[in-house]
Symmetry: C2
Subunit: 240 residues, 2 copies
Amino acid sequence: MEEINNIEIVPCTESNYLQPFRVSYNQNGTKKSWDFMRTHDSVSVLIFNTTSHCFVLVKQFRPAVYMCEWEKAKTKTSQPAEKSEEAEASESQEGQPASAEESSSQLPPASAGVTYELCAGLVDKPDLSLEEIARQEVLEECGYDVPASKLKRITSYRSGVGVTGAKQTMFYAEVSDDNCVSAGGGEPREGELIEVVKVPLHEAMTFAYDERTPKTMGVIFSFIWFHNNMSPKYKISTNV
Amino acid sequence: MEEINNIEIVPCTESNYLQPFRVSYNQNGTKKSWDFMRTHDSVSVLIFNTTSHCFVLVKQFRPAVYMCEWEKAKTKTSQPAEKSEEAEASESQEGQPASAEESSSQLPPASAGVTYELCAGLVDKPDLSLEEIARQEVLEECGYDVPASKLKRITSYRSGVGVTGAKQTMFYAEVSDDNCVSAGGGEPREGELIEVVKVPLHEAMTFAYDERTPKTMGVIFSFIWFHNNMSPKYKISTNV
């Protein structure tokens, strides 16, 4: 159970992580411009434990998701009545730092910001192959030590086409309890607080389509991919 | 065939579209902070034309995707040799505006920035239901006029959990040639230059997994969803 408090929001003009750029260009003779951000490509890994017949996911508190929910809660609270002063202040770009403490009655529970995701990581080590990077993430986040050669490429696609346009490559890794060398949980030095979660195969499709459980599309897509491509091997029947 | 030229990139400190914020908070007693951006939730629609047995997608030039490819092309060109001055300049946050003209030999073709996507739009009209917003996008982008009541909700999920955390809701719409009232193409006033593209049902799974065709995960996931849930109705066999 996560405990989240002392929330403060400030405009952020010098982020090391989010750096907007503007590109101007001519498209078929029409002058256009677009704001975008540079980011790294990424890898994600669907992990299936063949000992327990479970998928291995990560679960973590995502500040960006939480702030979305907080925003919605504020909007609901302030309608149809006028917006509260607290809400106004925290919406202003130039305003003073807004403290969520002041409007704590509107704070959603921490669980509103917790999402289920595939094990994943950024492609920020130019010397490593995608498979090697994926392998490291499986080890760091989920505690399974599998050789890169056992990672099967599922496919790749573009994410955030409006803002980042980065390429994501998805892999599939079969692991067994024998490969489990640690509890996982990410790199505390990098501020990661990751919980490793198992989803039994026979519950996977129900989990995938249950909208009450916040998750990424990668989880849904990969579970269905497994259902279509791997299920015969494991002789199970699942409901799609 | 898109023609893209006169590309210029500048750091962007006052974007109306990308506004970084920083949230600080305590998680289980540990002080943390995270940079994020506010954005709108969105809807996307898998459109299936029952007259032609085709999926209807949109295809457009995405500056953010193009810039990713340009960045990679520059990195490749400048390795193992040292980076060119042009590349350095355009990478600098504080640098002068960088002109892609100077290093035009490194410019990827415009097609490197073109992606195939589901018809989609932002949830930025608080008075409209998700279905109504989806209906408008189907009309504006693809030219089909279908009642909101005919939109079937597939599921929802979180996108960009590291940066925006917005909620995306995916719908399915069956249309016929009779519903086609215009050519679509988006709102030119909003700078949209969208091409409507049909993918025949019998080619859909090959299309979904062909990594040479840049696309979003939404396209891949929704095609597989259709395969699993709708194909029996249309009595077709597809290869997954």
